[in-house]
Amino acid sequence: MPATRIVAPAKARKGEVIEIKTLINHPQETGFRRDNVGRAIPRDIITRFTCTYAGEEVFRMDLFTGVAANPFVAFTTIATETGDLVFEWTDQHGTVTREQARIVVT
């Protein structure tokens, strides 16, 4: 499983707009590069990233070859309730990397 990094507040006030940042260690290989003997390096990319908050999808990102390696995203969401933030990265083969973080909302 690729390494991931999630920066999200552990606590927030209800109604506060919070910022979440995520990173995933992935080459996001375009398929256009060639190795040192001229063979095309096959495409291998993450195609989708979602953030689900207490069961509801609050953010989705569609990634193509033009997203830089080790895909990074910063986005916002409203702190509505205490619950789990679930992050899922899906690659072109359908493999899912899943991480979660808990947020306490007062």
Partner: protein
Amino acid sequence: MTSRRRQRFAVLAGLALGLAPLLVAGQERAIAPSDLRSGREFVSPETQAQQDDLTVNPGMLWVEQGEKLWREAAGEAGQSCAACHGEPSRLKGVAARYPVYDAKLGRLLNLEGRIQHCRAERQKADPLAYESQPLLALTALVAHQSRGLPMSVAVDGPAQPFFETGRALYHERQGQLDLSCTQCHDESWGKRLRAERISQGHANGFPIYRLEWQTLGSLHRRLRACFQGVRAEPPASGAPELLALELYLAWRAHGLPIETPAVRR
């Protein structure tokens, strides 16, 4: 001694002690200490921001991985790094004085070498190769503990012969382009090479996230790329020449803050 004279003596003594590493081996520095500039000063504001903000710095992926590996049991004895060393924060200051001469081993060790040695001899675990994810992660973790601290290596005593070797290599013309490190990084820093400004070639941010590599990489990888840049055969990562050069570079960068994980182009 009057108190004022004592004061003046203290100031001069302090200055001498502070300047001693700069004057060691009678070596005059090509770049005056006040002109020392980290590689950070030669990248764009956006790249600087990417380095400075640890919540976006991609190198932190490896630092976090390093934290996990630090606590993982490894090798025959099933010991983790934490079992002997405690928390990673206990290693604050270590990276600032590397590379070091290890008397027991009788050789120069950089951070990678130290970790490789611990891994092989203490944990009796599988060796870690240069540029492998685990070695990058652990090196980044340890060096990151010294982020903000000034580089300060010892180049006297048993380290001195290695320092001399490194200095000689730094000034030796290499490759088809017949260029030495000093020609670009001492004589031409700040000038443009195509669309880029030449840096002073300091090694205070390694391992770095290099945009050209699209991943984190070691100093030895970067040095090998420099050799390729002048069309010279690069030494292997971990080779004595690169270790000696690393020591010389650390001396050159005396006083510059460690920036690991730095972001460079």
